[in-house]
Amino acid sequence: MQNNQQVIENDFQPESSSKYEGSWERKGRSLNTAAVVGLLGIGVLYFNAQVMLFMIIFLFTIAINPAPEVSGTFVERISAMAKLYTPPLRISLIISQYLFMLLPTWWLVKRWHSHYVRDYVRLKYSSVIEIVLAILATLAIIPTGAYIGNELVRRLKFPDIFFKFYQELFSAHSLHEFLWLVFIVAITPAICEEIFFRGYVQRTFERTVRAKSVLLVGVIFGLFHMQPLSLITLSLLGIIFGFFYYRSQSLLPAMAAHFTNNFLVIFLYYKEIEIAGVNLLTAEQLPISWVLITLPIGIFILYLYYRLTKKNNL
């Protein structure tokens, strides 16, 4: 027992006998409080630092290379604005993910919980089959998430003009830019966000509320993106990533799943692929048949994953 809360310890076995020697642990403070404070503290730091970084980089860019006067229609002006904002946005995104999300998380675990940060966040190997199943399950669930998101966008009459801005941010116009985007949009969040959300927040909640942490942190993951229209989709993904983390007791499958989801978005923007006659970029909504086919497959893969990870004695 630790401060009236049931603390569950089942898997943390660093080389030292003193598992939790951080200051928060030594003082026997509430673990749930640690998770909430870490979540909100790093959240405040990350978002504010990102905005400030963006402004600094944007002003610096404009000072070096003054923006040309843009005239024309509203759509043309928005497109020009998107082009102007995109490079500073991408740079601020990447810097803030590593400096203001990953680094503080690492520091927090080390200071509050354990010197064995990699063990704490479960940055360890998992079987290849677990990673492959995680990727397949994510691919199968994506159409359902996209369908829900599209439906909300459609019902709210979200203007196409805003998509152009979004599209500009995630579109690559050359192979070199595509690889750069893969690093910014797919690799970086898969590392930083997974270590933060799953490795720290879910891991810390898990010690008191076990499996409920999957649902809790999944919804928090959705809320944290501050995109109300994508809340259901992002929460669904967050829950699935959390499920992989919880069942496999490793960050790698969740990282692979997160990478798959983000990579798919930029790949589709880059290649403008048509699947079964549907242009995924211009289509207002996916055919419902896609959801009806892929969702049961996704659920079946998740069940397989559950069976496969039974060995972890959860």
């Binding site: 403070r29 509430s30 409080t33 404070v37 909100l40 019902r155 709210l156 809320l223 109300p228």
Partner: protein
């Protein structure tokens, strides 16, 4: 029974605060709902009246060019209703804060107090004292800015850059002074709610507690307030989407038509029609969530500062005295 509370570190304050929120959440939610719900309904009505009044006047102007005098009368009526409902809402928020502060202080003193008892204690002479304290505090802070604003006004009127600049400089200095006083008086409310202090006495009491710990108090209050505001903004974002669905949908339609080059200024007016109730719901939810946390931050800090002033006896010292 004399409670023993020792001075807390930042981590202890977080820990104590979250435990206090968990222990008192249901009771505090009850107090917040009972007091804020009627006030929010009145607030939503006020918003509706105000916005429909504005859209009506703009519509008339669109059609007639000249706005009849009676519409200005309706506008002033709408403004009066609007500001009255805001004042009612603020008073309700303050009242709920007092009730929640009493629950929090009791819990910190190892006493369990029900929401009904806390409300009973709230609706007494101390509520009037708290209203009085708040009015005095805001008046004092507002008075600080009178002279700088006069300087800015004179400077602008006389087109004198030097005088305007001096006024702005004075504004900045008084801004710092206002922040200093705001922190010094931050615990006047718990002093009245828990210690039954008088209005003037509460200012002195709060100032005494903060003395020698101003920077620490300022830093922790600022940090906790930023964190709470961030948490509330995250939680209420989807609630805003649902509550203001009609408004947002019309707004997007309008943006879409502007992009297509087919905008209609009357579309803007329709936006206002769907705003009042939605804003009422969002305001209610946001303030209920704020009430569950903000008063308790003051409570924990208040007890920490009291402990730093040696107002709680250590068990060892108590045994020694006996």
């Amino acid at each position: 029974m004399q409670t023993t509370i020792v001075p807390m570190s930042l981590g202890d304050i977080f820990d104590r605060l979250f435990k206090l929120i968990g222990k008192t959440a249901l009771r505090n939610l009850m107090i917040a709902m009972i007091i804020l719900l009627p006030a929010s309904i009145i607030f939503a009505y006020g918003m509706n009246e105000f916005f429909s009044m504005i859209s009506q006047i703009i519509r008339v102007k669109e059609l007639n060019e000249v706005v009849p005098d009676e519409y200005f009368f309706s506008l002033s009526k709408g403004l009066t209703v609007y500001f009255t409902t805001i004042v009612i809402f603020m008073l309700a928020y303050l009242t709920a804060t007092v009730g929640i502060t009493i629950v929090g202080c009791a819990e910190m003193s190892d006493q369990q107090i029900s929401w009904s008892k806390a409300l009973g204690r709230t609706f007494s002479i101390r509520l009037l004292r708290i209203y009085g304290q708040r009015i005095l505090e805001y008046l004092a802070l507002a008075c600080l800015f009178i002279i700088p604003v006069i300087f800015i006004g004179i400077g602008a009127g006389a087109e004198s850059l030097g005088v305007t600049f001096f006024g702005i400089l004075m504004c900045l200095v008084t801004g710092i002074l206002a922040v200093y006083l705001w922190v010094r008086w931050a615990f006047a409310l718990p002093a009245i709610a828990w210690e039954d202090a008088g209005v003037i006495q509460s200012f002195g009491r709060s100032s005494f507690l903060v003395n020698r710990f101003w920077w620490r108090t300022f830093g922790i209050l600022l940090l906790l307030n930023i964190i709470v505001q961030f948490a509330i903004s995250i939680i209420t974002a989807p609630i805003q989407l649902v509550a203001l669905w009609g408004f947002i949908s019309k707004y997007f339609t309008m943006i879409g038509s502007i992009a297509d080059g087919a905008s209609d200024s009357l579309e803007l007016l329709e936006l206002f029609d769907s705003l009042g109730t939605g804003l009422g719901i969002v305001t209610f939810v946001s303030y209920v969530l704020l009430l569950l946390v903000l008063p308790l931050i003051s409570v924990v800090m208040y007890f920490d500062l009291r402990a730093r002033k040696n107002e709680f006896v250590e068990p060892a010292e108590l045994a020694e005295a006996e």
